[in-house]
């Protein structure tokens, strides 16, 4: 089939782009070792965030159901199922720990009173153990749910739906806790003196927003192709567009709440994080985020018709995906260059290298199954009107 070939070329092109970019990146890493690890972490965080956002949407969908989740369920499953490979992509972060995380240095830890209290948590061994546990839990969730959904495709067993729902309740709690801790480990501990209780939720919402935007772009790509062509209606787009709108607002809410709390307290152990990001050249990026990540998508998504047509919705989703990169850049990079913003060529190449491989693996997974779980009893009856009552 035409669509099958198309997915096959995505896999090939993604792999070629990813591996060649990775080769250049590694050659560059020989010369600029510090920069290599910084850029790699930036790229890794974006793509692991996309996988985790997919997993979060999958858990949420099984828990609350809804037509919007049904049409992107197989995408979110594919994003979750490639987590074992994403775990392998974590290796360079581990190798470069000493370059990235100041707490790996004993002298730094001894120098500060605050860091002294964090010594038991921020150790290399505990960090690695935690990361393995996070990945183990996420991979388990993704495979448990997707394998049952696949079995349902074959057998049509209705009871599986209920079991997936019961599983997702506790799993989503574990998901939020583990991703919060992972964001503390991988991102927040780049500036180990600093902490914020809002940070984890801010990151999780950002990841889910990334995954939603990604799925919308994919829907745009496959909307004219079966099975989507005969299933998708403006109503589906409207629902998923409203989700995108809601998560855009939620992202701004999280980002602003964290800022407001620290700004109000204005304590030196908290506020240096924002002074770096708002009181230096980084403030241009902050304003850019405020406008491009919140105001523009907010105003665009206010209009009902923009959410009801996939072309216009996908354009907003692409904008959001670009702004997600900028957001991660603004969150991570000031830890390494606090005096102002710079973009190294590796900062652009690293997300392409990891992303090419990620996308190739994603499409390989995505094409192996029917694009929509067609035997889910919640949705066989939704063809006409019953969904409104669910």
């Amino acid at each position: 089939m035409n669509g099958e070939q198309r997915l096959g070329t995505f896999v090939k092109r993604g792999m070629i782009a990813g591996i060649s970019a990775l080769a250049i990146l590694m050659a560059g890493g020989v010369v600029y070792r510090q920069q290599f690890f910084e850029s790699y972490l930036f790229g890794f965080i974006f793509w692991v965030g996309l996988s985790l956002g997919c997993l979060g949407i999958l858990l949420l969908h099984h828990l609350v159901s809804g037509a919007w989740g049904h049409i992107i369920q197989r995408m979110t499953e594919a994003g979750g199922r490639i987590l074992p490979y994403v775990f392998l992509m974590f290796a360079p972060v581990v190798i470069g720990m000493e370059f990235l995380y100041p707490w790996t240095d004993q002298e730094t830890m001894a120098s500060s009173h605050i860091l002294h209290h964090k010594e038991w948590f921020l150790t290399t061994r505990f960090f690695l153990v935690r990361s393995v546990i996070y990945f183990g839990a996420w991979i388990f969730f993704a495979y448990w749910l997707s394998s049952r959904s696949r079995r349902q495709d074959k057998t049509g067993e209705a009871g599986l739906t209920r079991r997936m729902k019961l599983f997702s309740g506790p799993a989503i709690v574990a998901f939020v806790i583990s991703v919060t801790l992972a964001s503390v480990d991988w991102m927040m501990s780049l500036e180990p003196e600093w902490y914020s209780t809002m940070y984890g939720m801010h990151i999780i919402v950002g990841m889910i927003l990334t995954a939603l935007a990604f799925c919308i772009v994919l829907l745009r790509m496959f909307s004219l192709q079966e099975p989507y062509a005969s299933v998708l209606t403006t109503r589906h787009y409207h629902h998923i567009g409203n989700m995108l709108f809601a998560f855009t607002i939620l992202w701004a809410y999280m980002a602003f709440s964290q800022f407001l709390i620290i700004w109000s307290g204005n304590l030196p152990e908290d506020n240096f994080w924002y002074i770096r990001r708002l009181g230096t050249g980084w403030n241009i990026i902050a304003v850019f985020l405020l406008v491009g990540h919140f105001f523009v998508p907010f105003v665009l998504l206010l209009f009902r018709n923009r959410k009801r047509y996939i072309d216009s919705l996908a354009r907003v989703a692409i904008l959001i995906l670009i702004m997600r990169f900028v957001d991660y850049f603004w969150l991570l990079k000031p830890a390494f260059s606090p005096e102002g913003w710079t973009v190294h060529w590796m900062d652009i190449l690293a997300p392409i290298a990891i992303g090419g491989i990620w996308l190739a693996l994603f499409f390989r997974e995505f094409r192996s199954q029917p694009m929509i779980p067609l035997k889910d009893p919640r949705f066989s009856k939704e063809a006409f009107h019953v969904h409104d009552l669910e």
Binding site: F256, L260, W263, R304, F384, H385, D388
Partner: protein
């Protein structure tokens, strides 16, 4: 939503009763194709498909709500600006008088409050409410619209309405029954 009784016609309209949701959507589409515009439909649960079939398009309510929201946003912000900067400037912890981050939550809440009130009040007025009685209640079977029946009403105020012609048209839709709706 023609609420004024059309003096030209002795009845308010004709109403067809259907058993299935699919039927009323098809019927509404056919009525629209036949040129009827002054129509309404009554169903036991909300049906988005019917909104499209009846040709009820964009309502100006959303624009009204947007204006309310913008008004709430500006009032919320400048109320605080007036208090903190103009009317009663106070040095709190050495912060600038125009400490706008502090005002965002109230500004946001005021935006939501004004939009929500605007949406509810605007919806009520644009629907012609409050309205104690409506001619459709003259039909005894109409109470079934809250249970399991679907009703399509063509009002006599419609320029294409003709008692005999419209009744023949409704019959062609194969309804479970046709009722004459008298004026209240």
């Amino acid at each position: 939503m023609a609420s004024t009784p059309a003096s030209s016609s002795p009845i308010f309209g004709l109403m067809a009763e259907f058993d299935e949701p699919e039927q009323i959507v098809a019927a509404a589409e056919k009525a629209r194709d036949a040129g009827y515009r002054q129509m309404d439909a009554f169903t036991p649960f909300p049906m988005e498909e019917l909104t499209d079939a009846l040709g009820i398009h964009h309502s100006r309510l959303s624009l009204f709500v947007l204006c309310c929201g913008i008004a709430g946003c500006l009032i919320g912000f400048f109320m605080q600006y007036y208090v903190a900067v103009i009317d009663y400037p106070l040095n709190i912890g050495g912060r600038p008088l125009n400490s706008w981050p502090q005002w965002i939550p109230i500004t946001f809440e005021m935006t939501i409050l004004f939009s929500a009130i605007g949406a509810v009040v605007g919806m009520i007025f644009r629907n012609g409410l409050p309205r104690p009685v409506h001619p459709v209640f003259n039909v005894d079977r109409f109470e079934l619209a809250t249970r399991d029946k679907f009703f399509l009403l063509i009002e006599s105020a419609d320029p294409r309405f003709d008692r005999n012609e419209t009744e023949r048209f409704l019959k062609s839709l194969k309804p479970a029954g046709i009722e004459v709706v008298d004026h209240a």
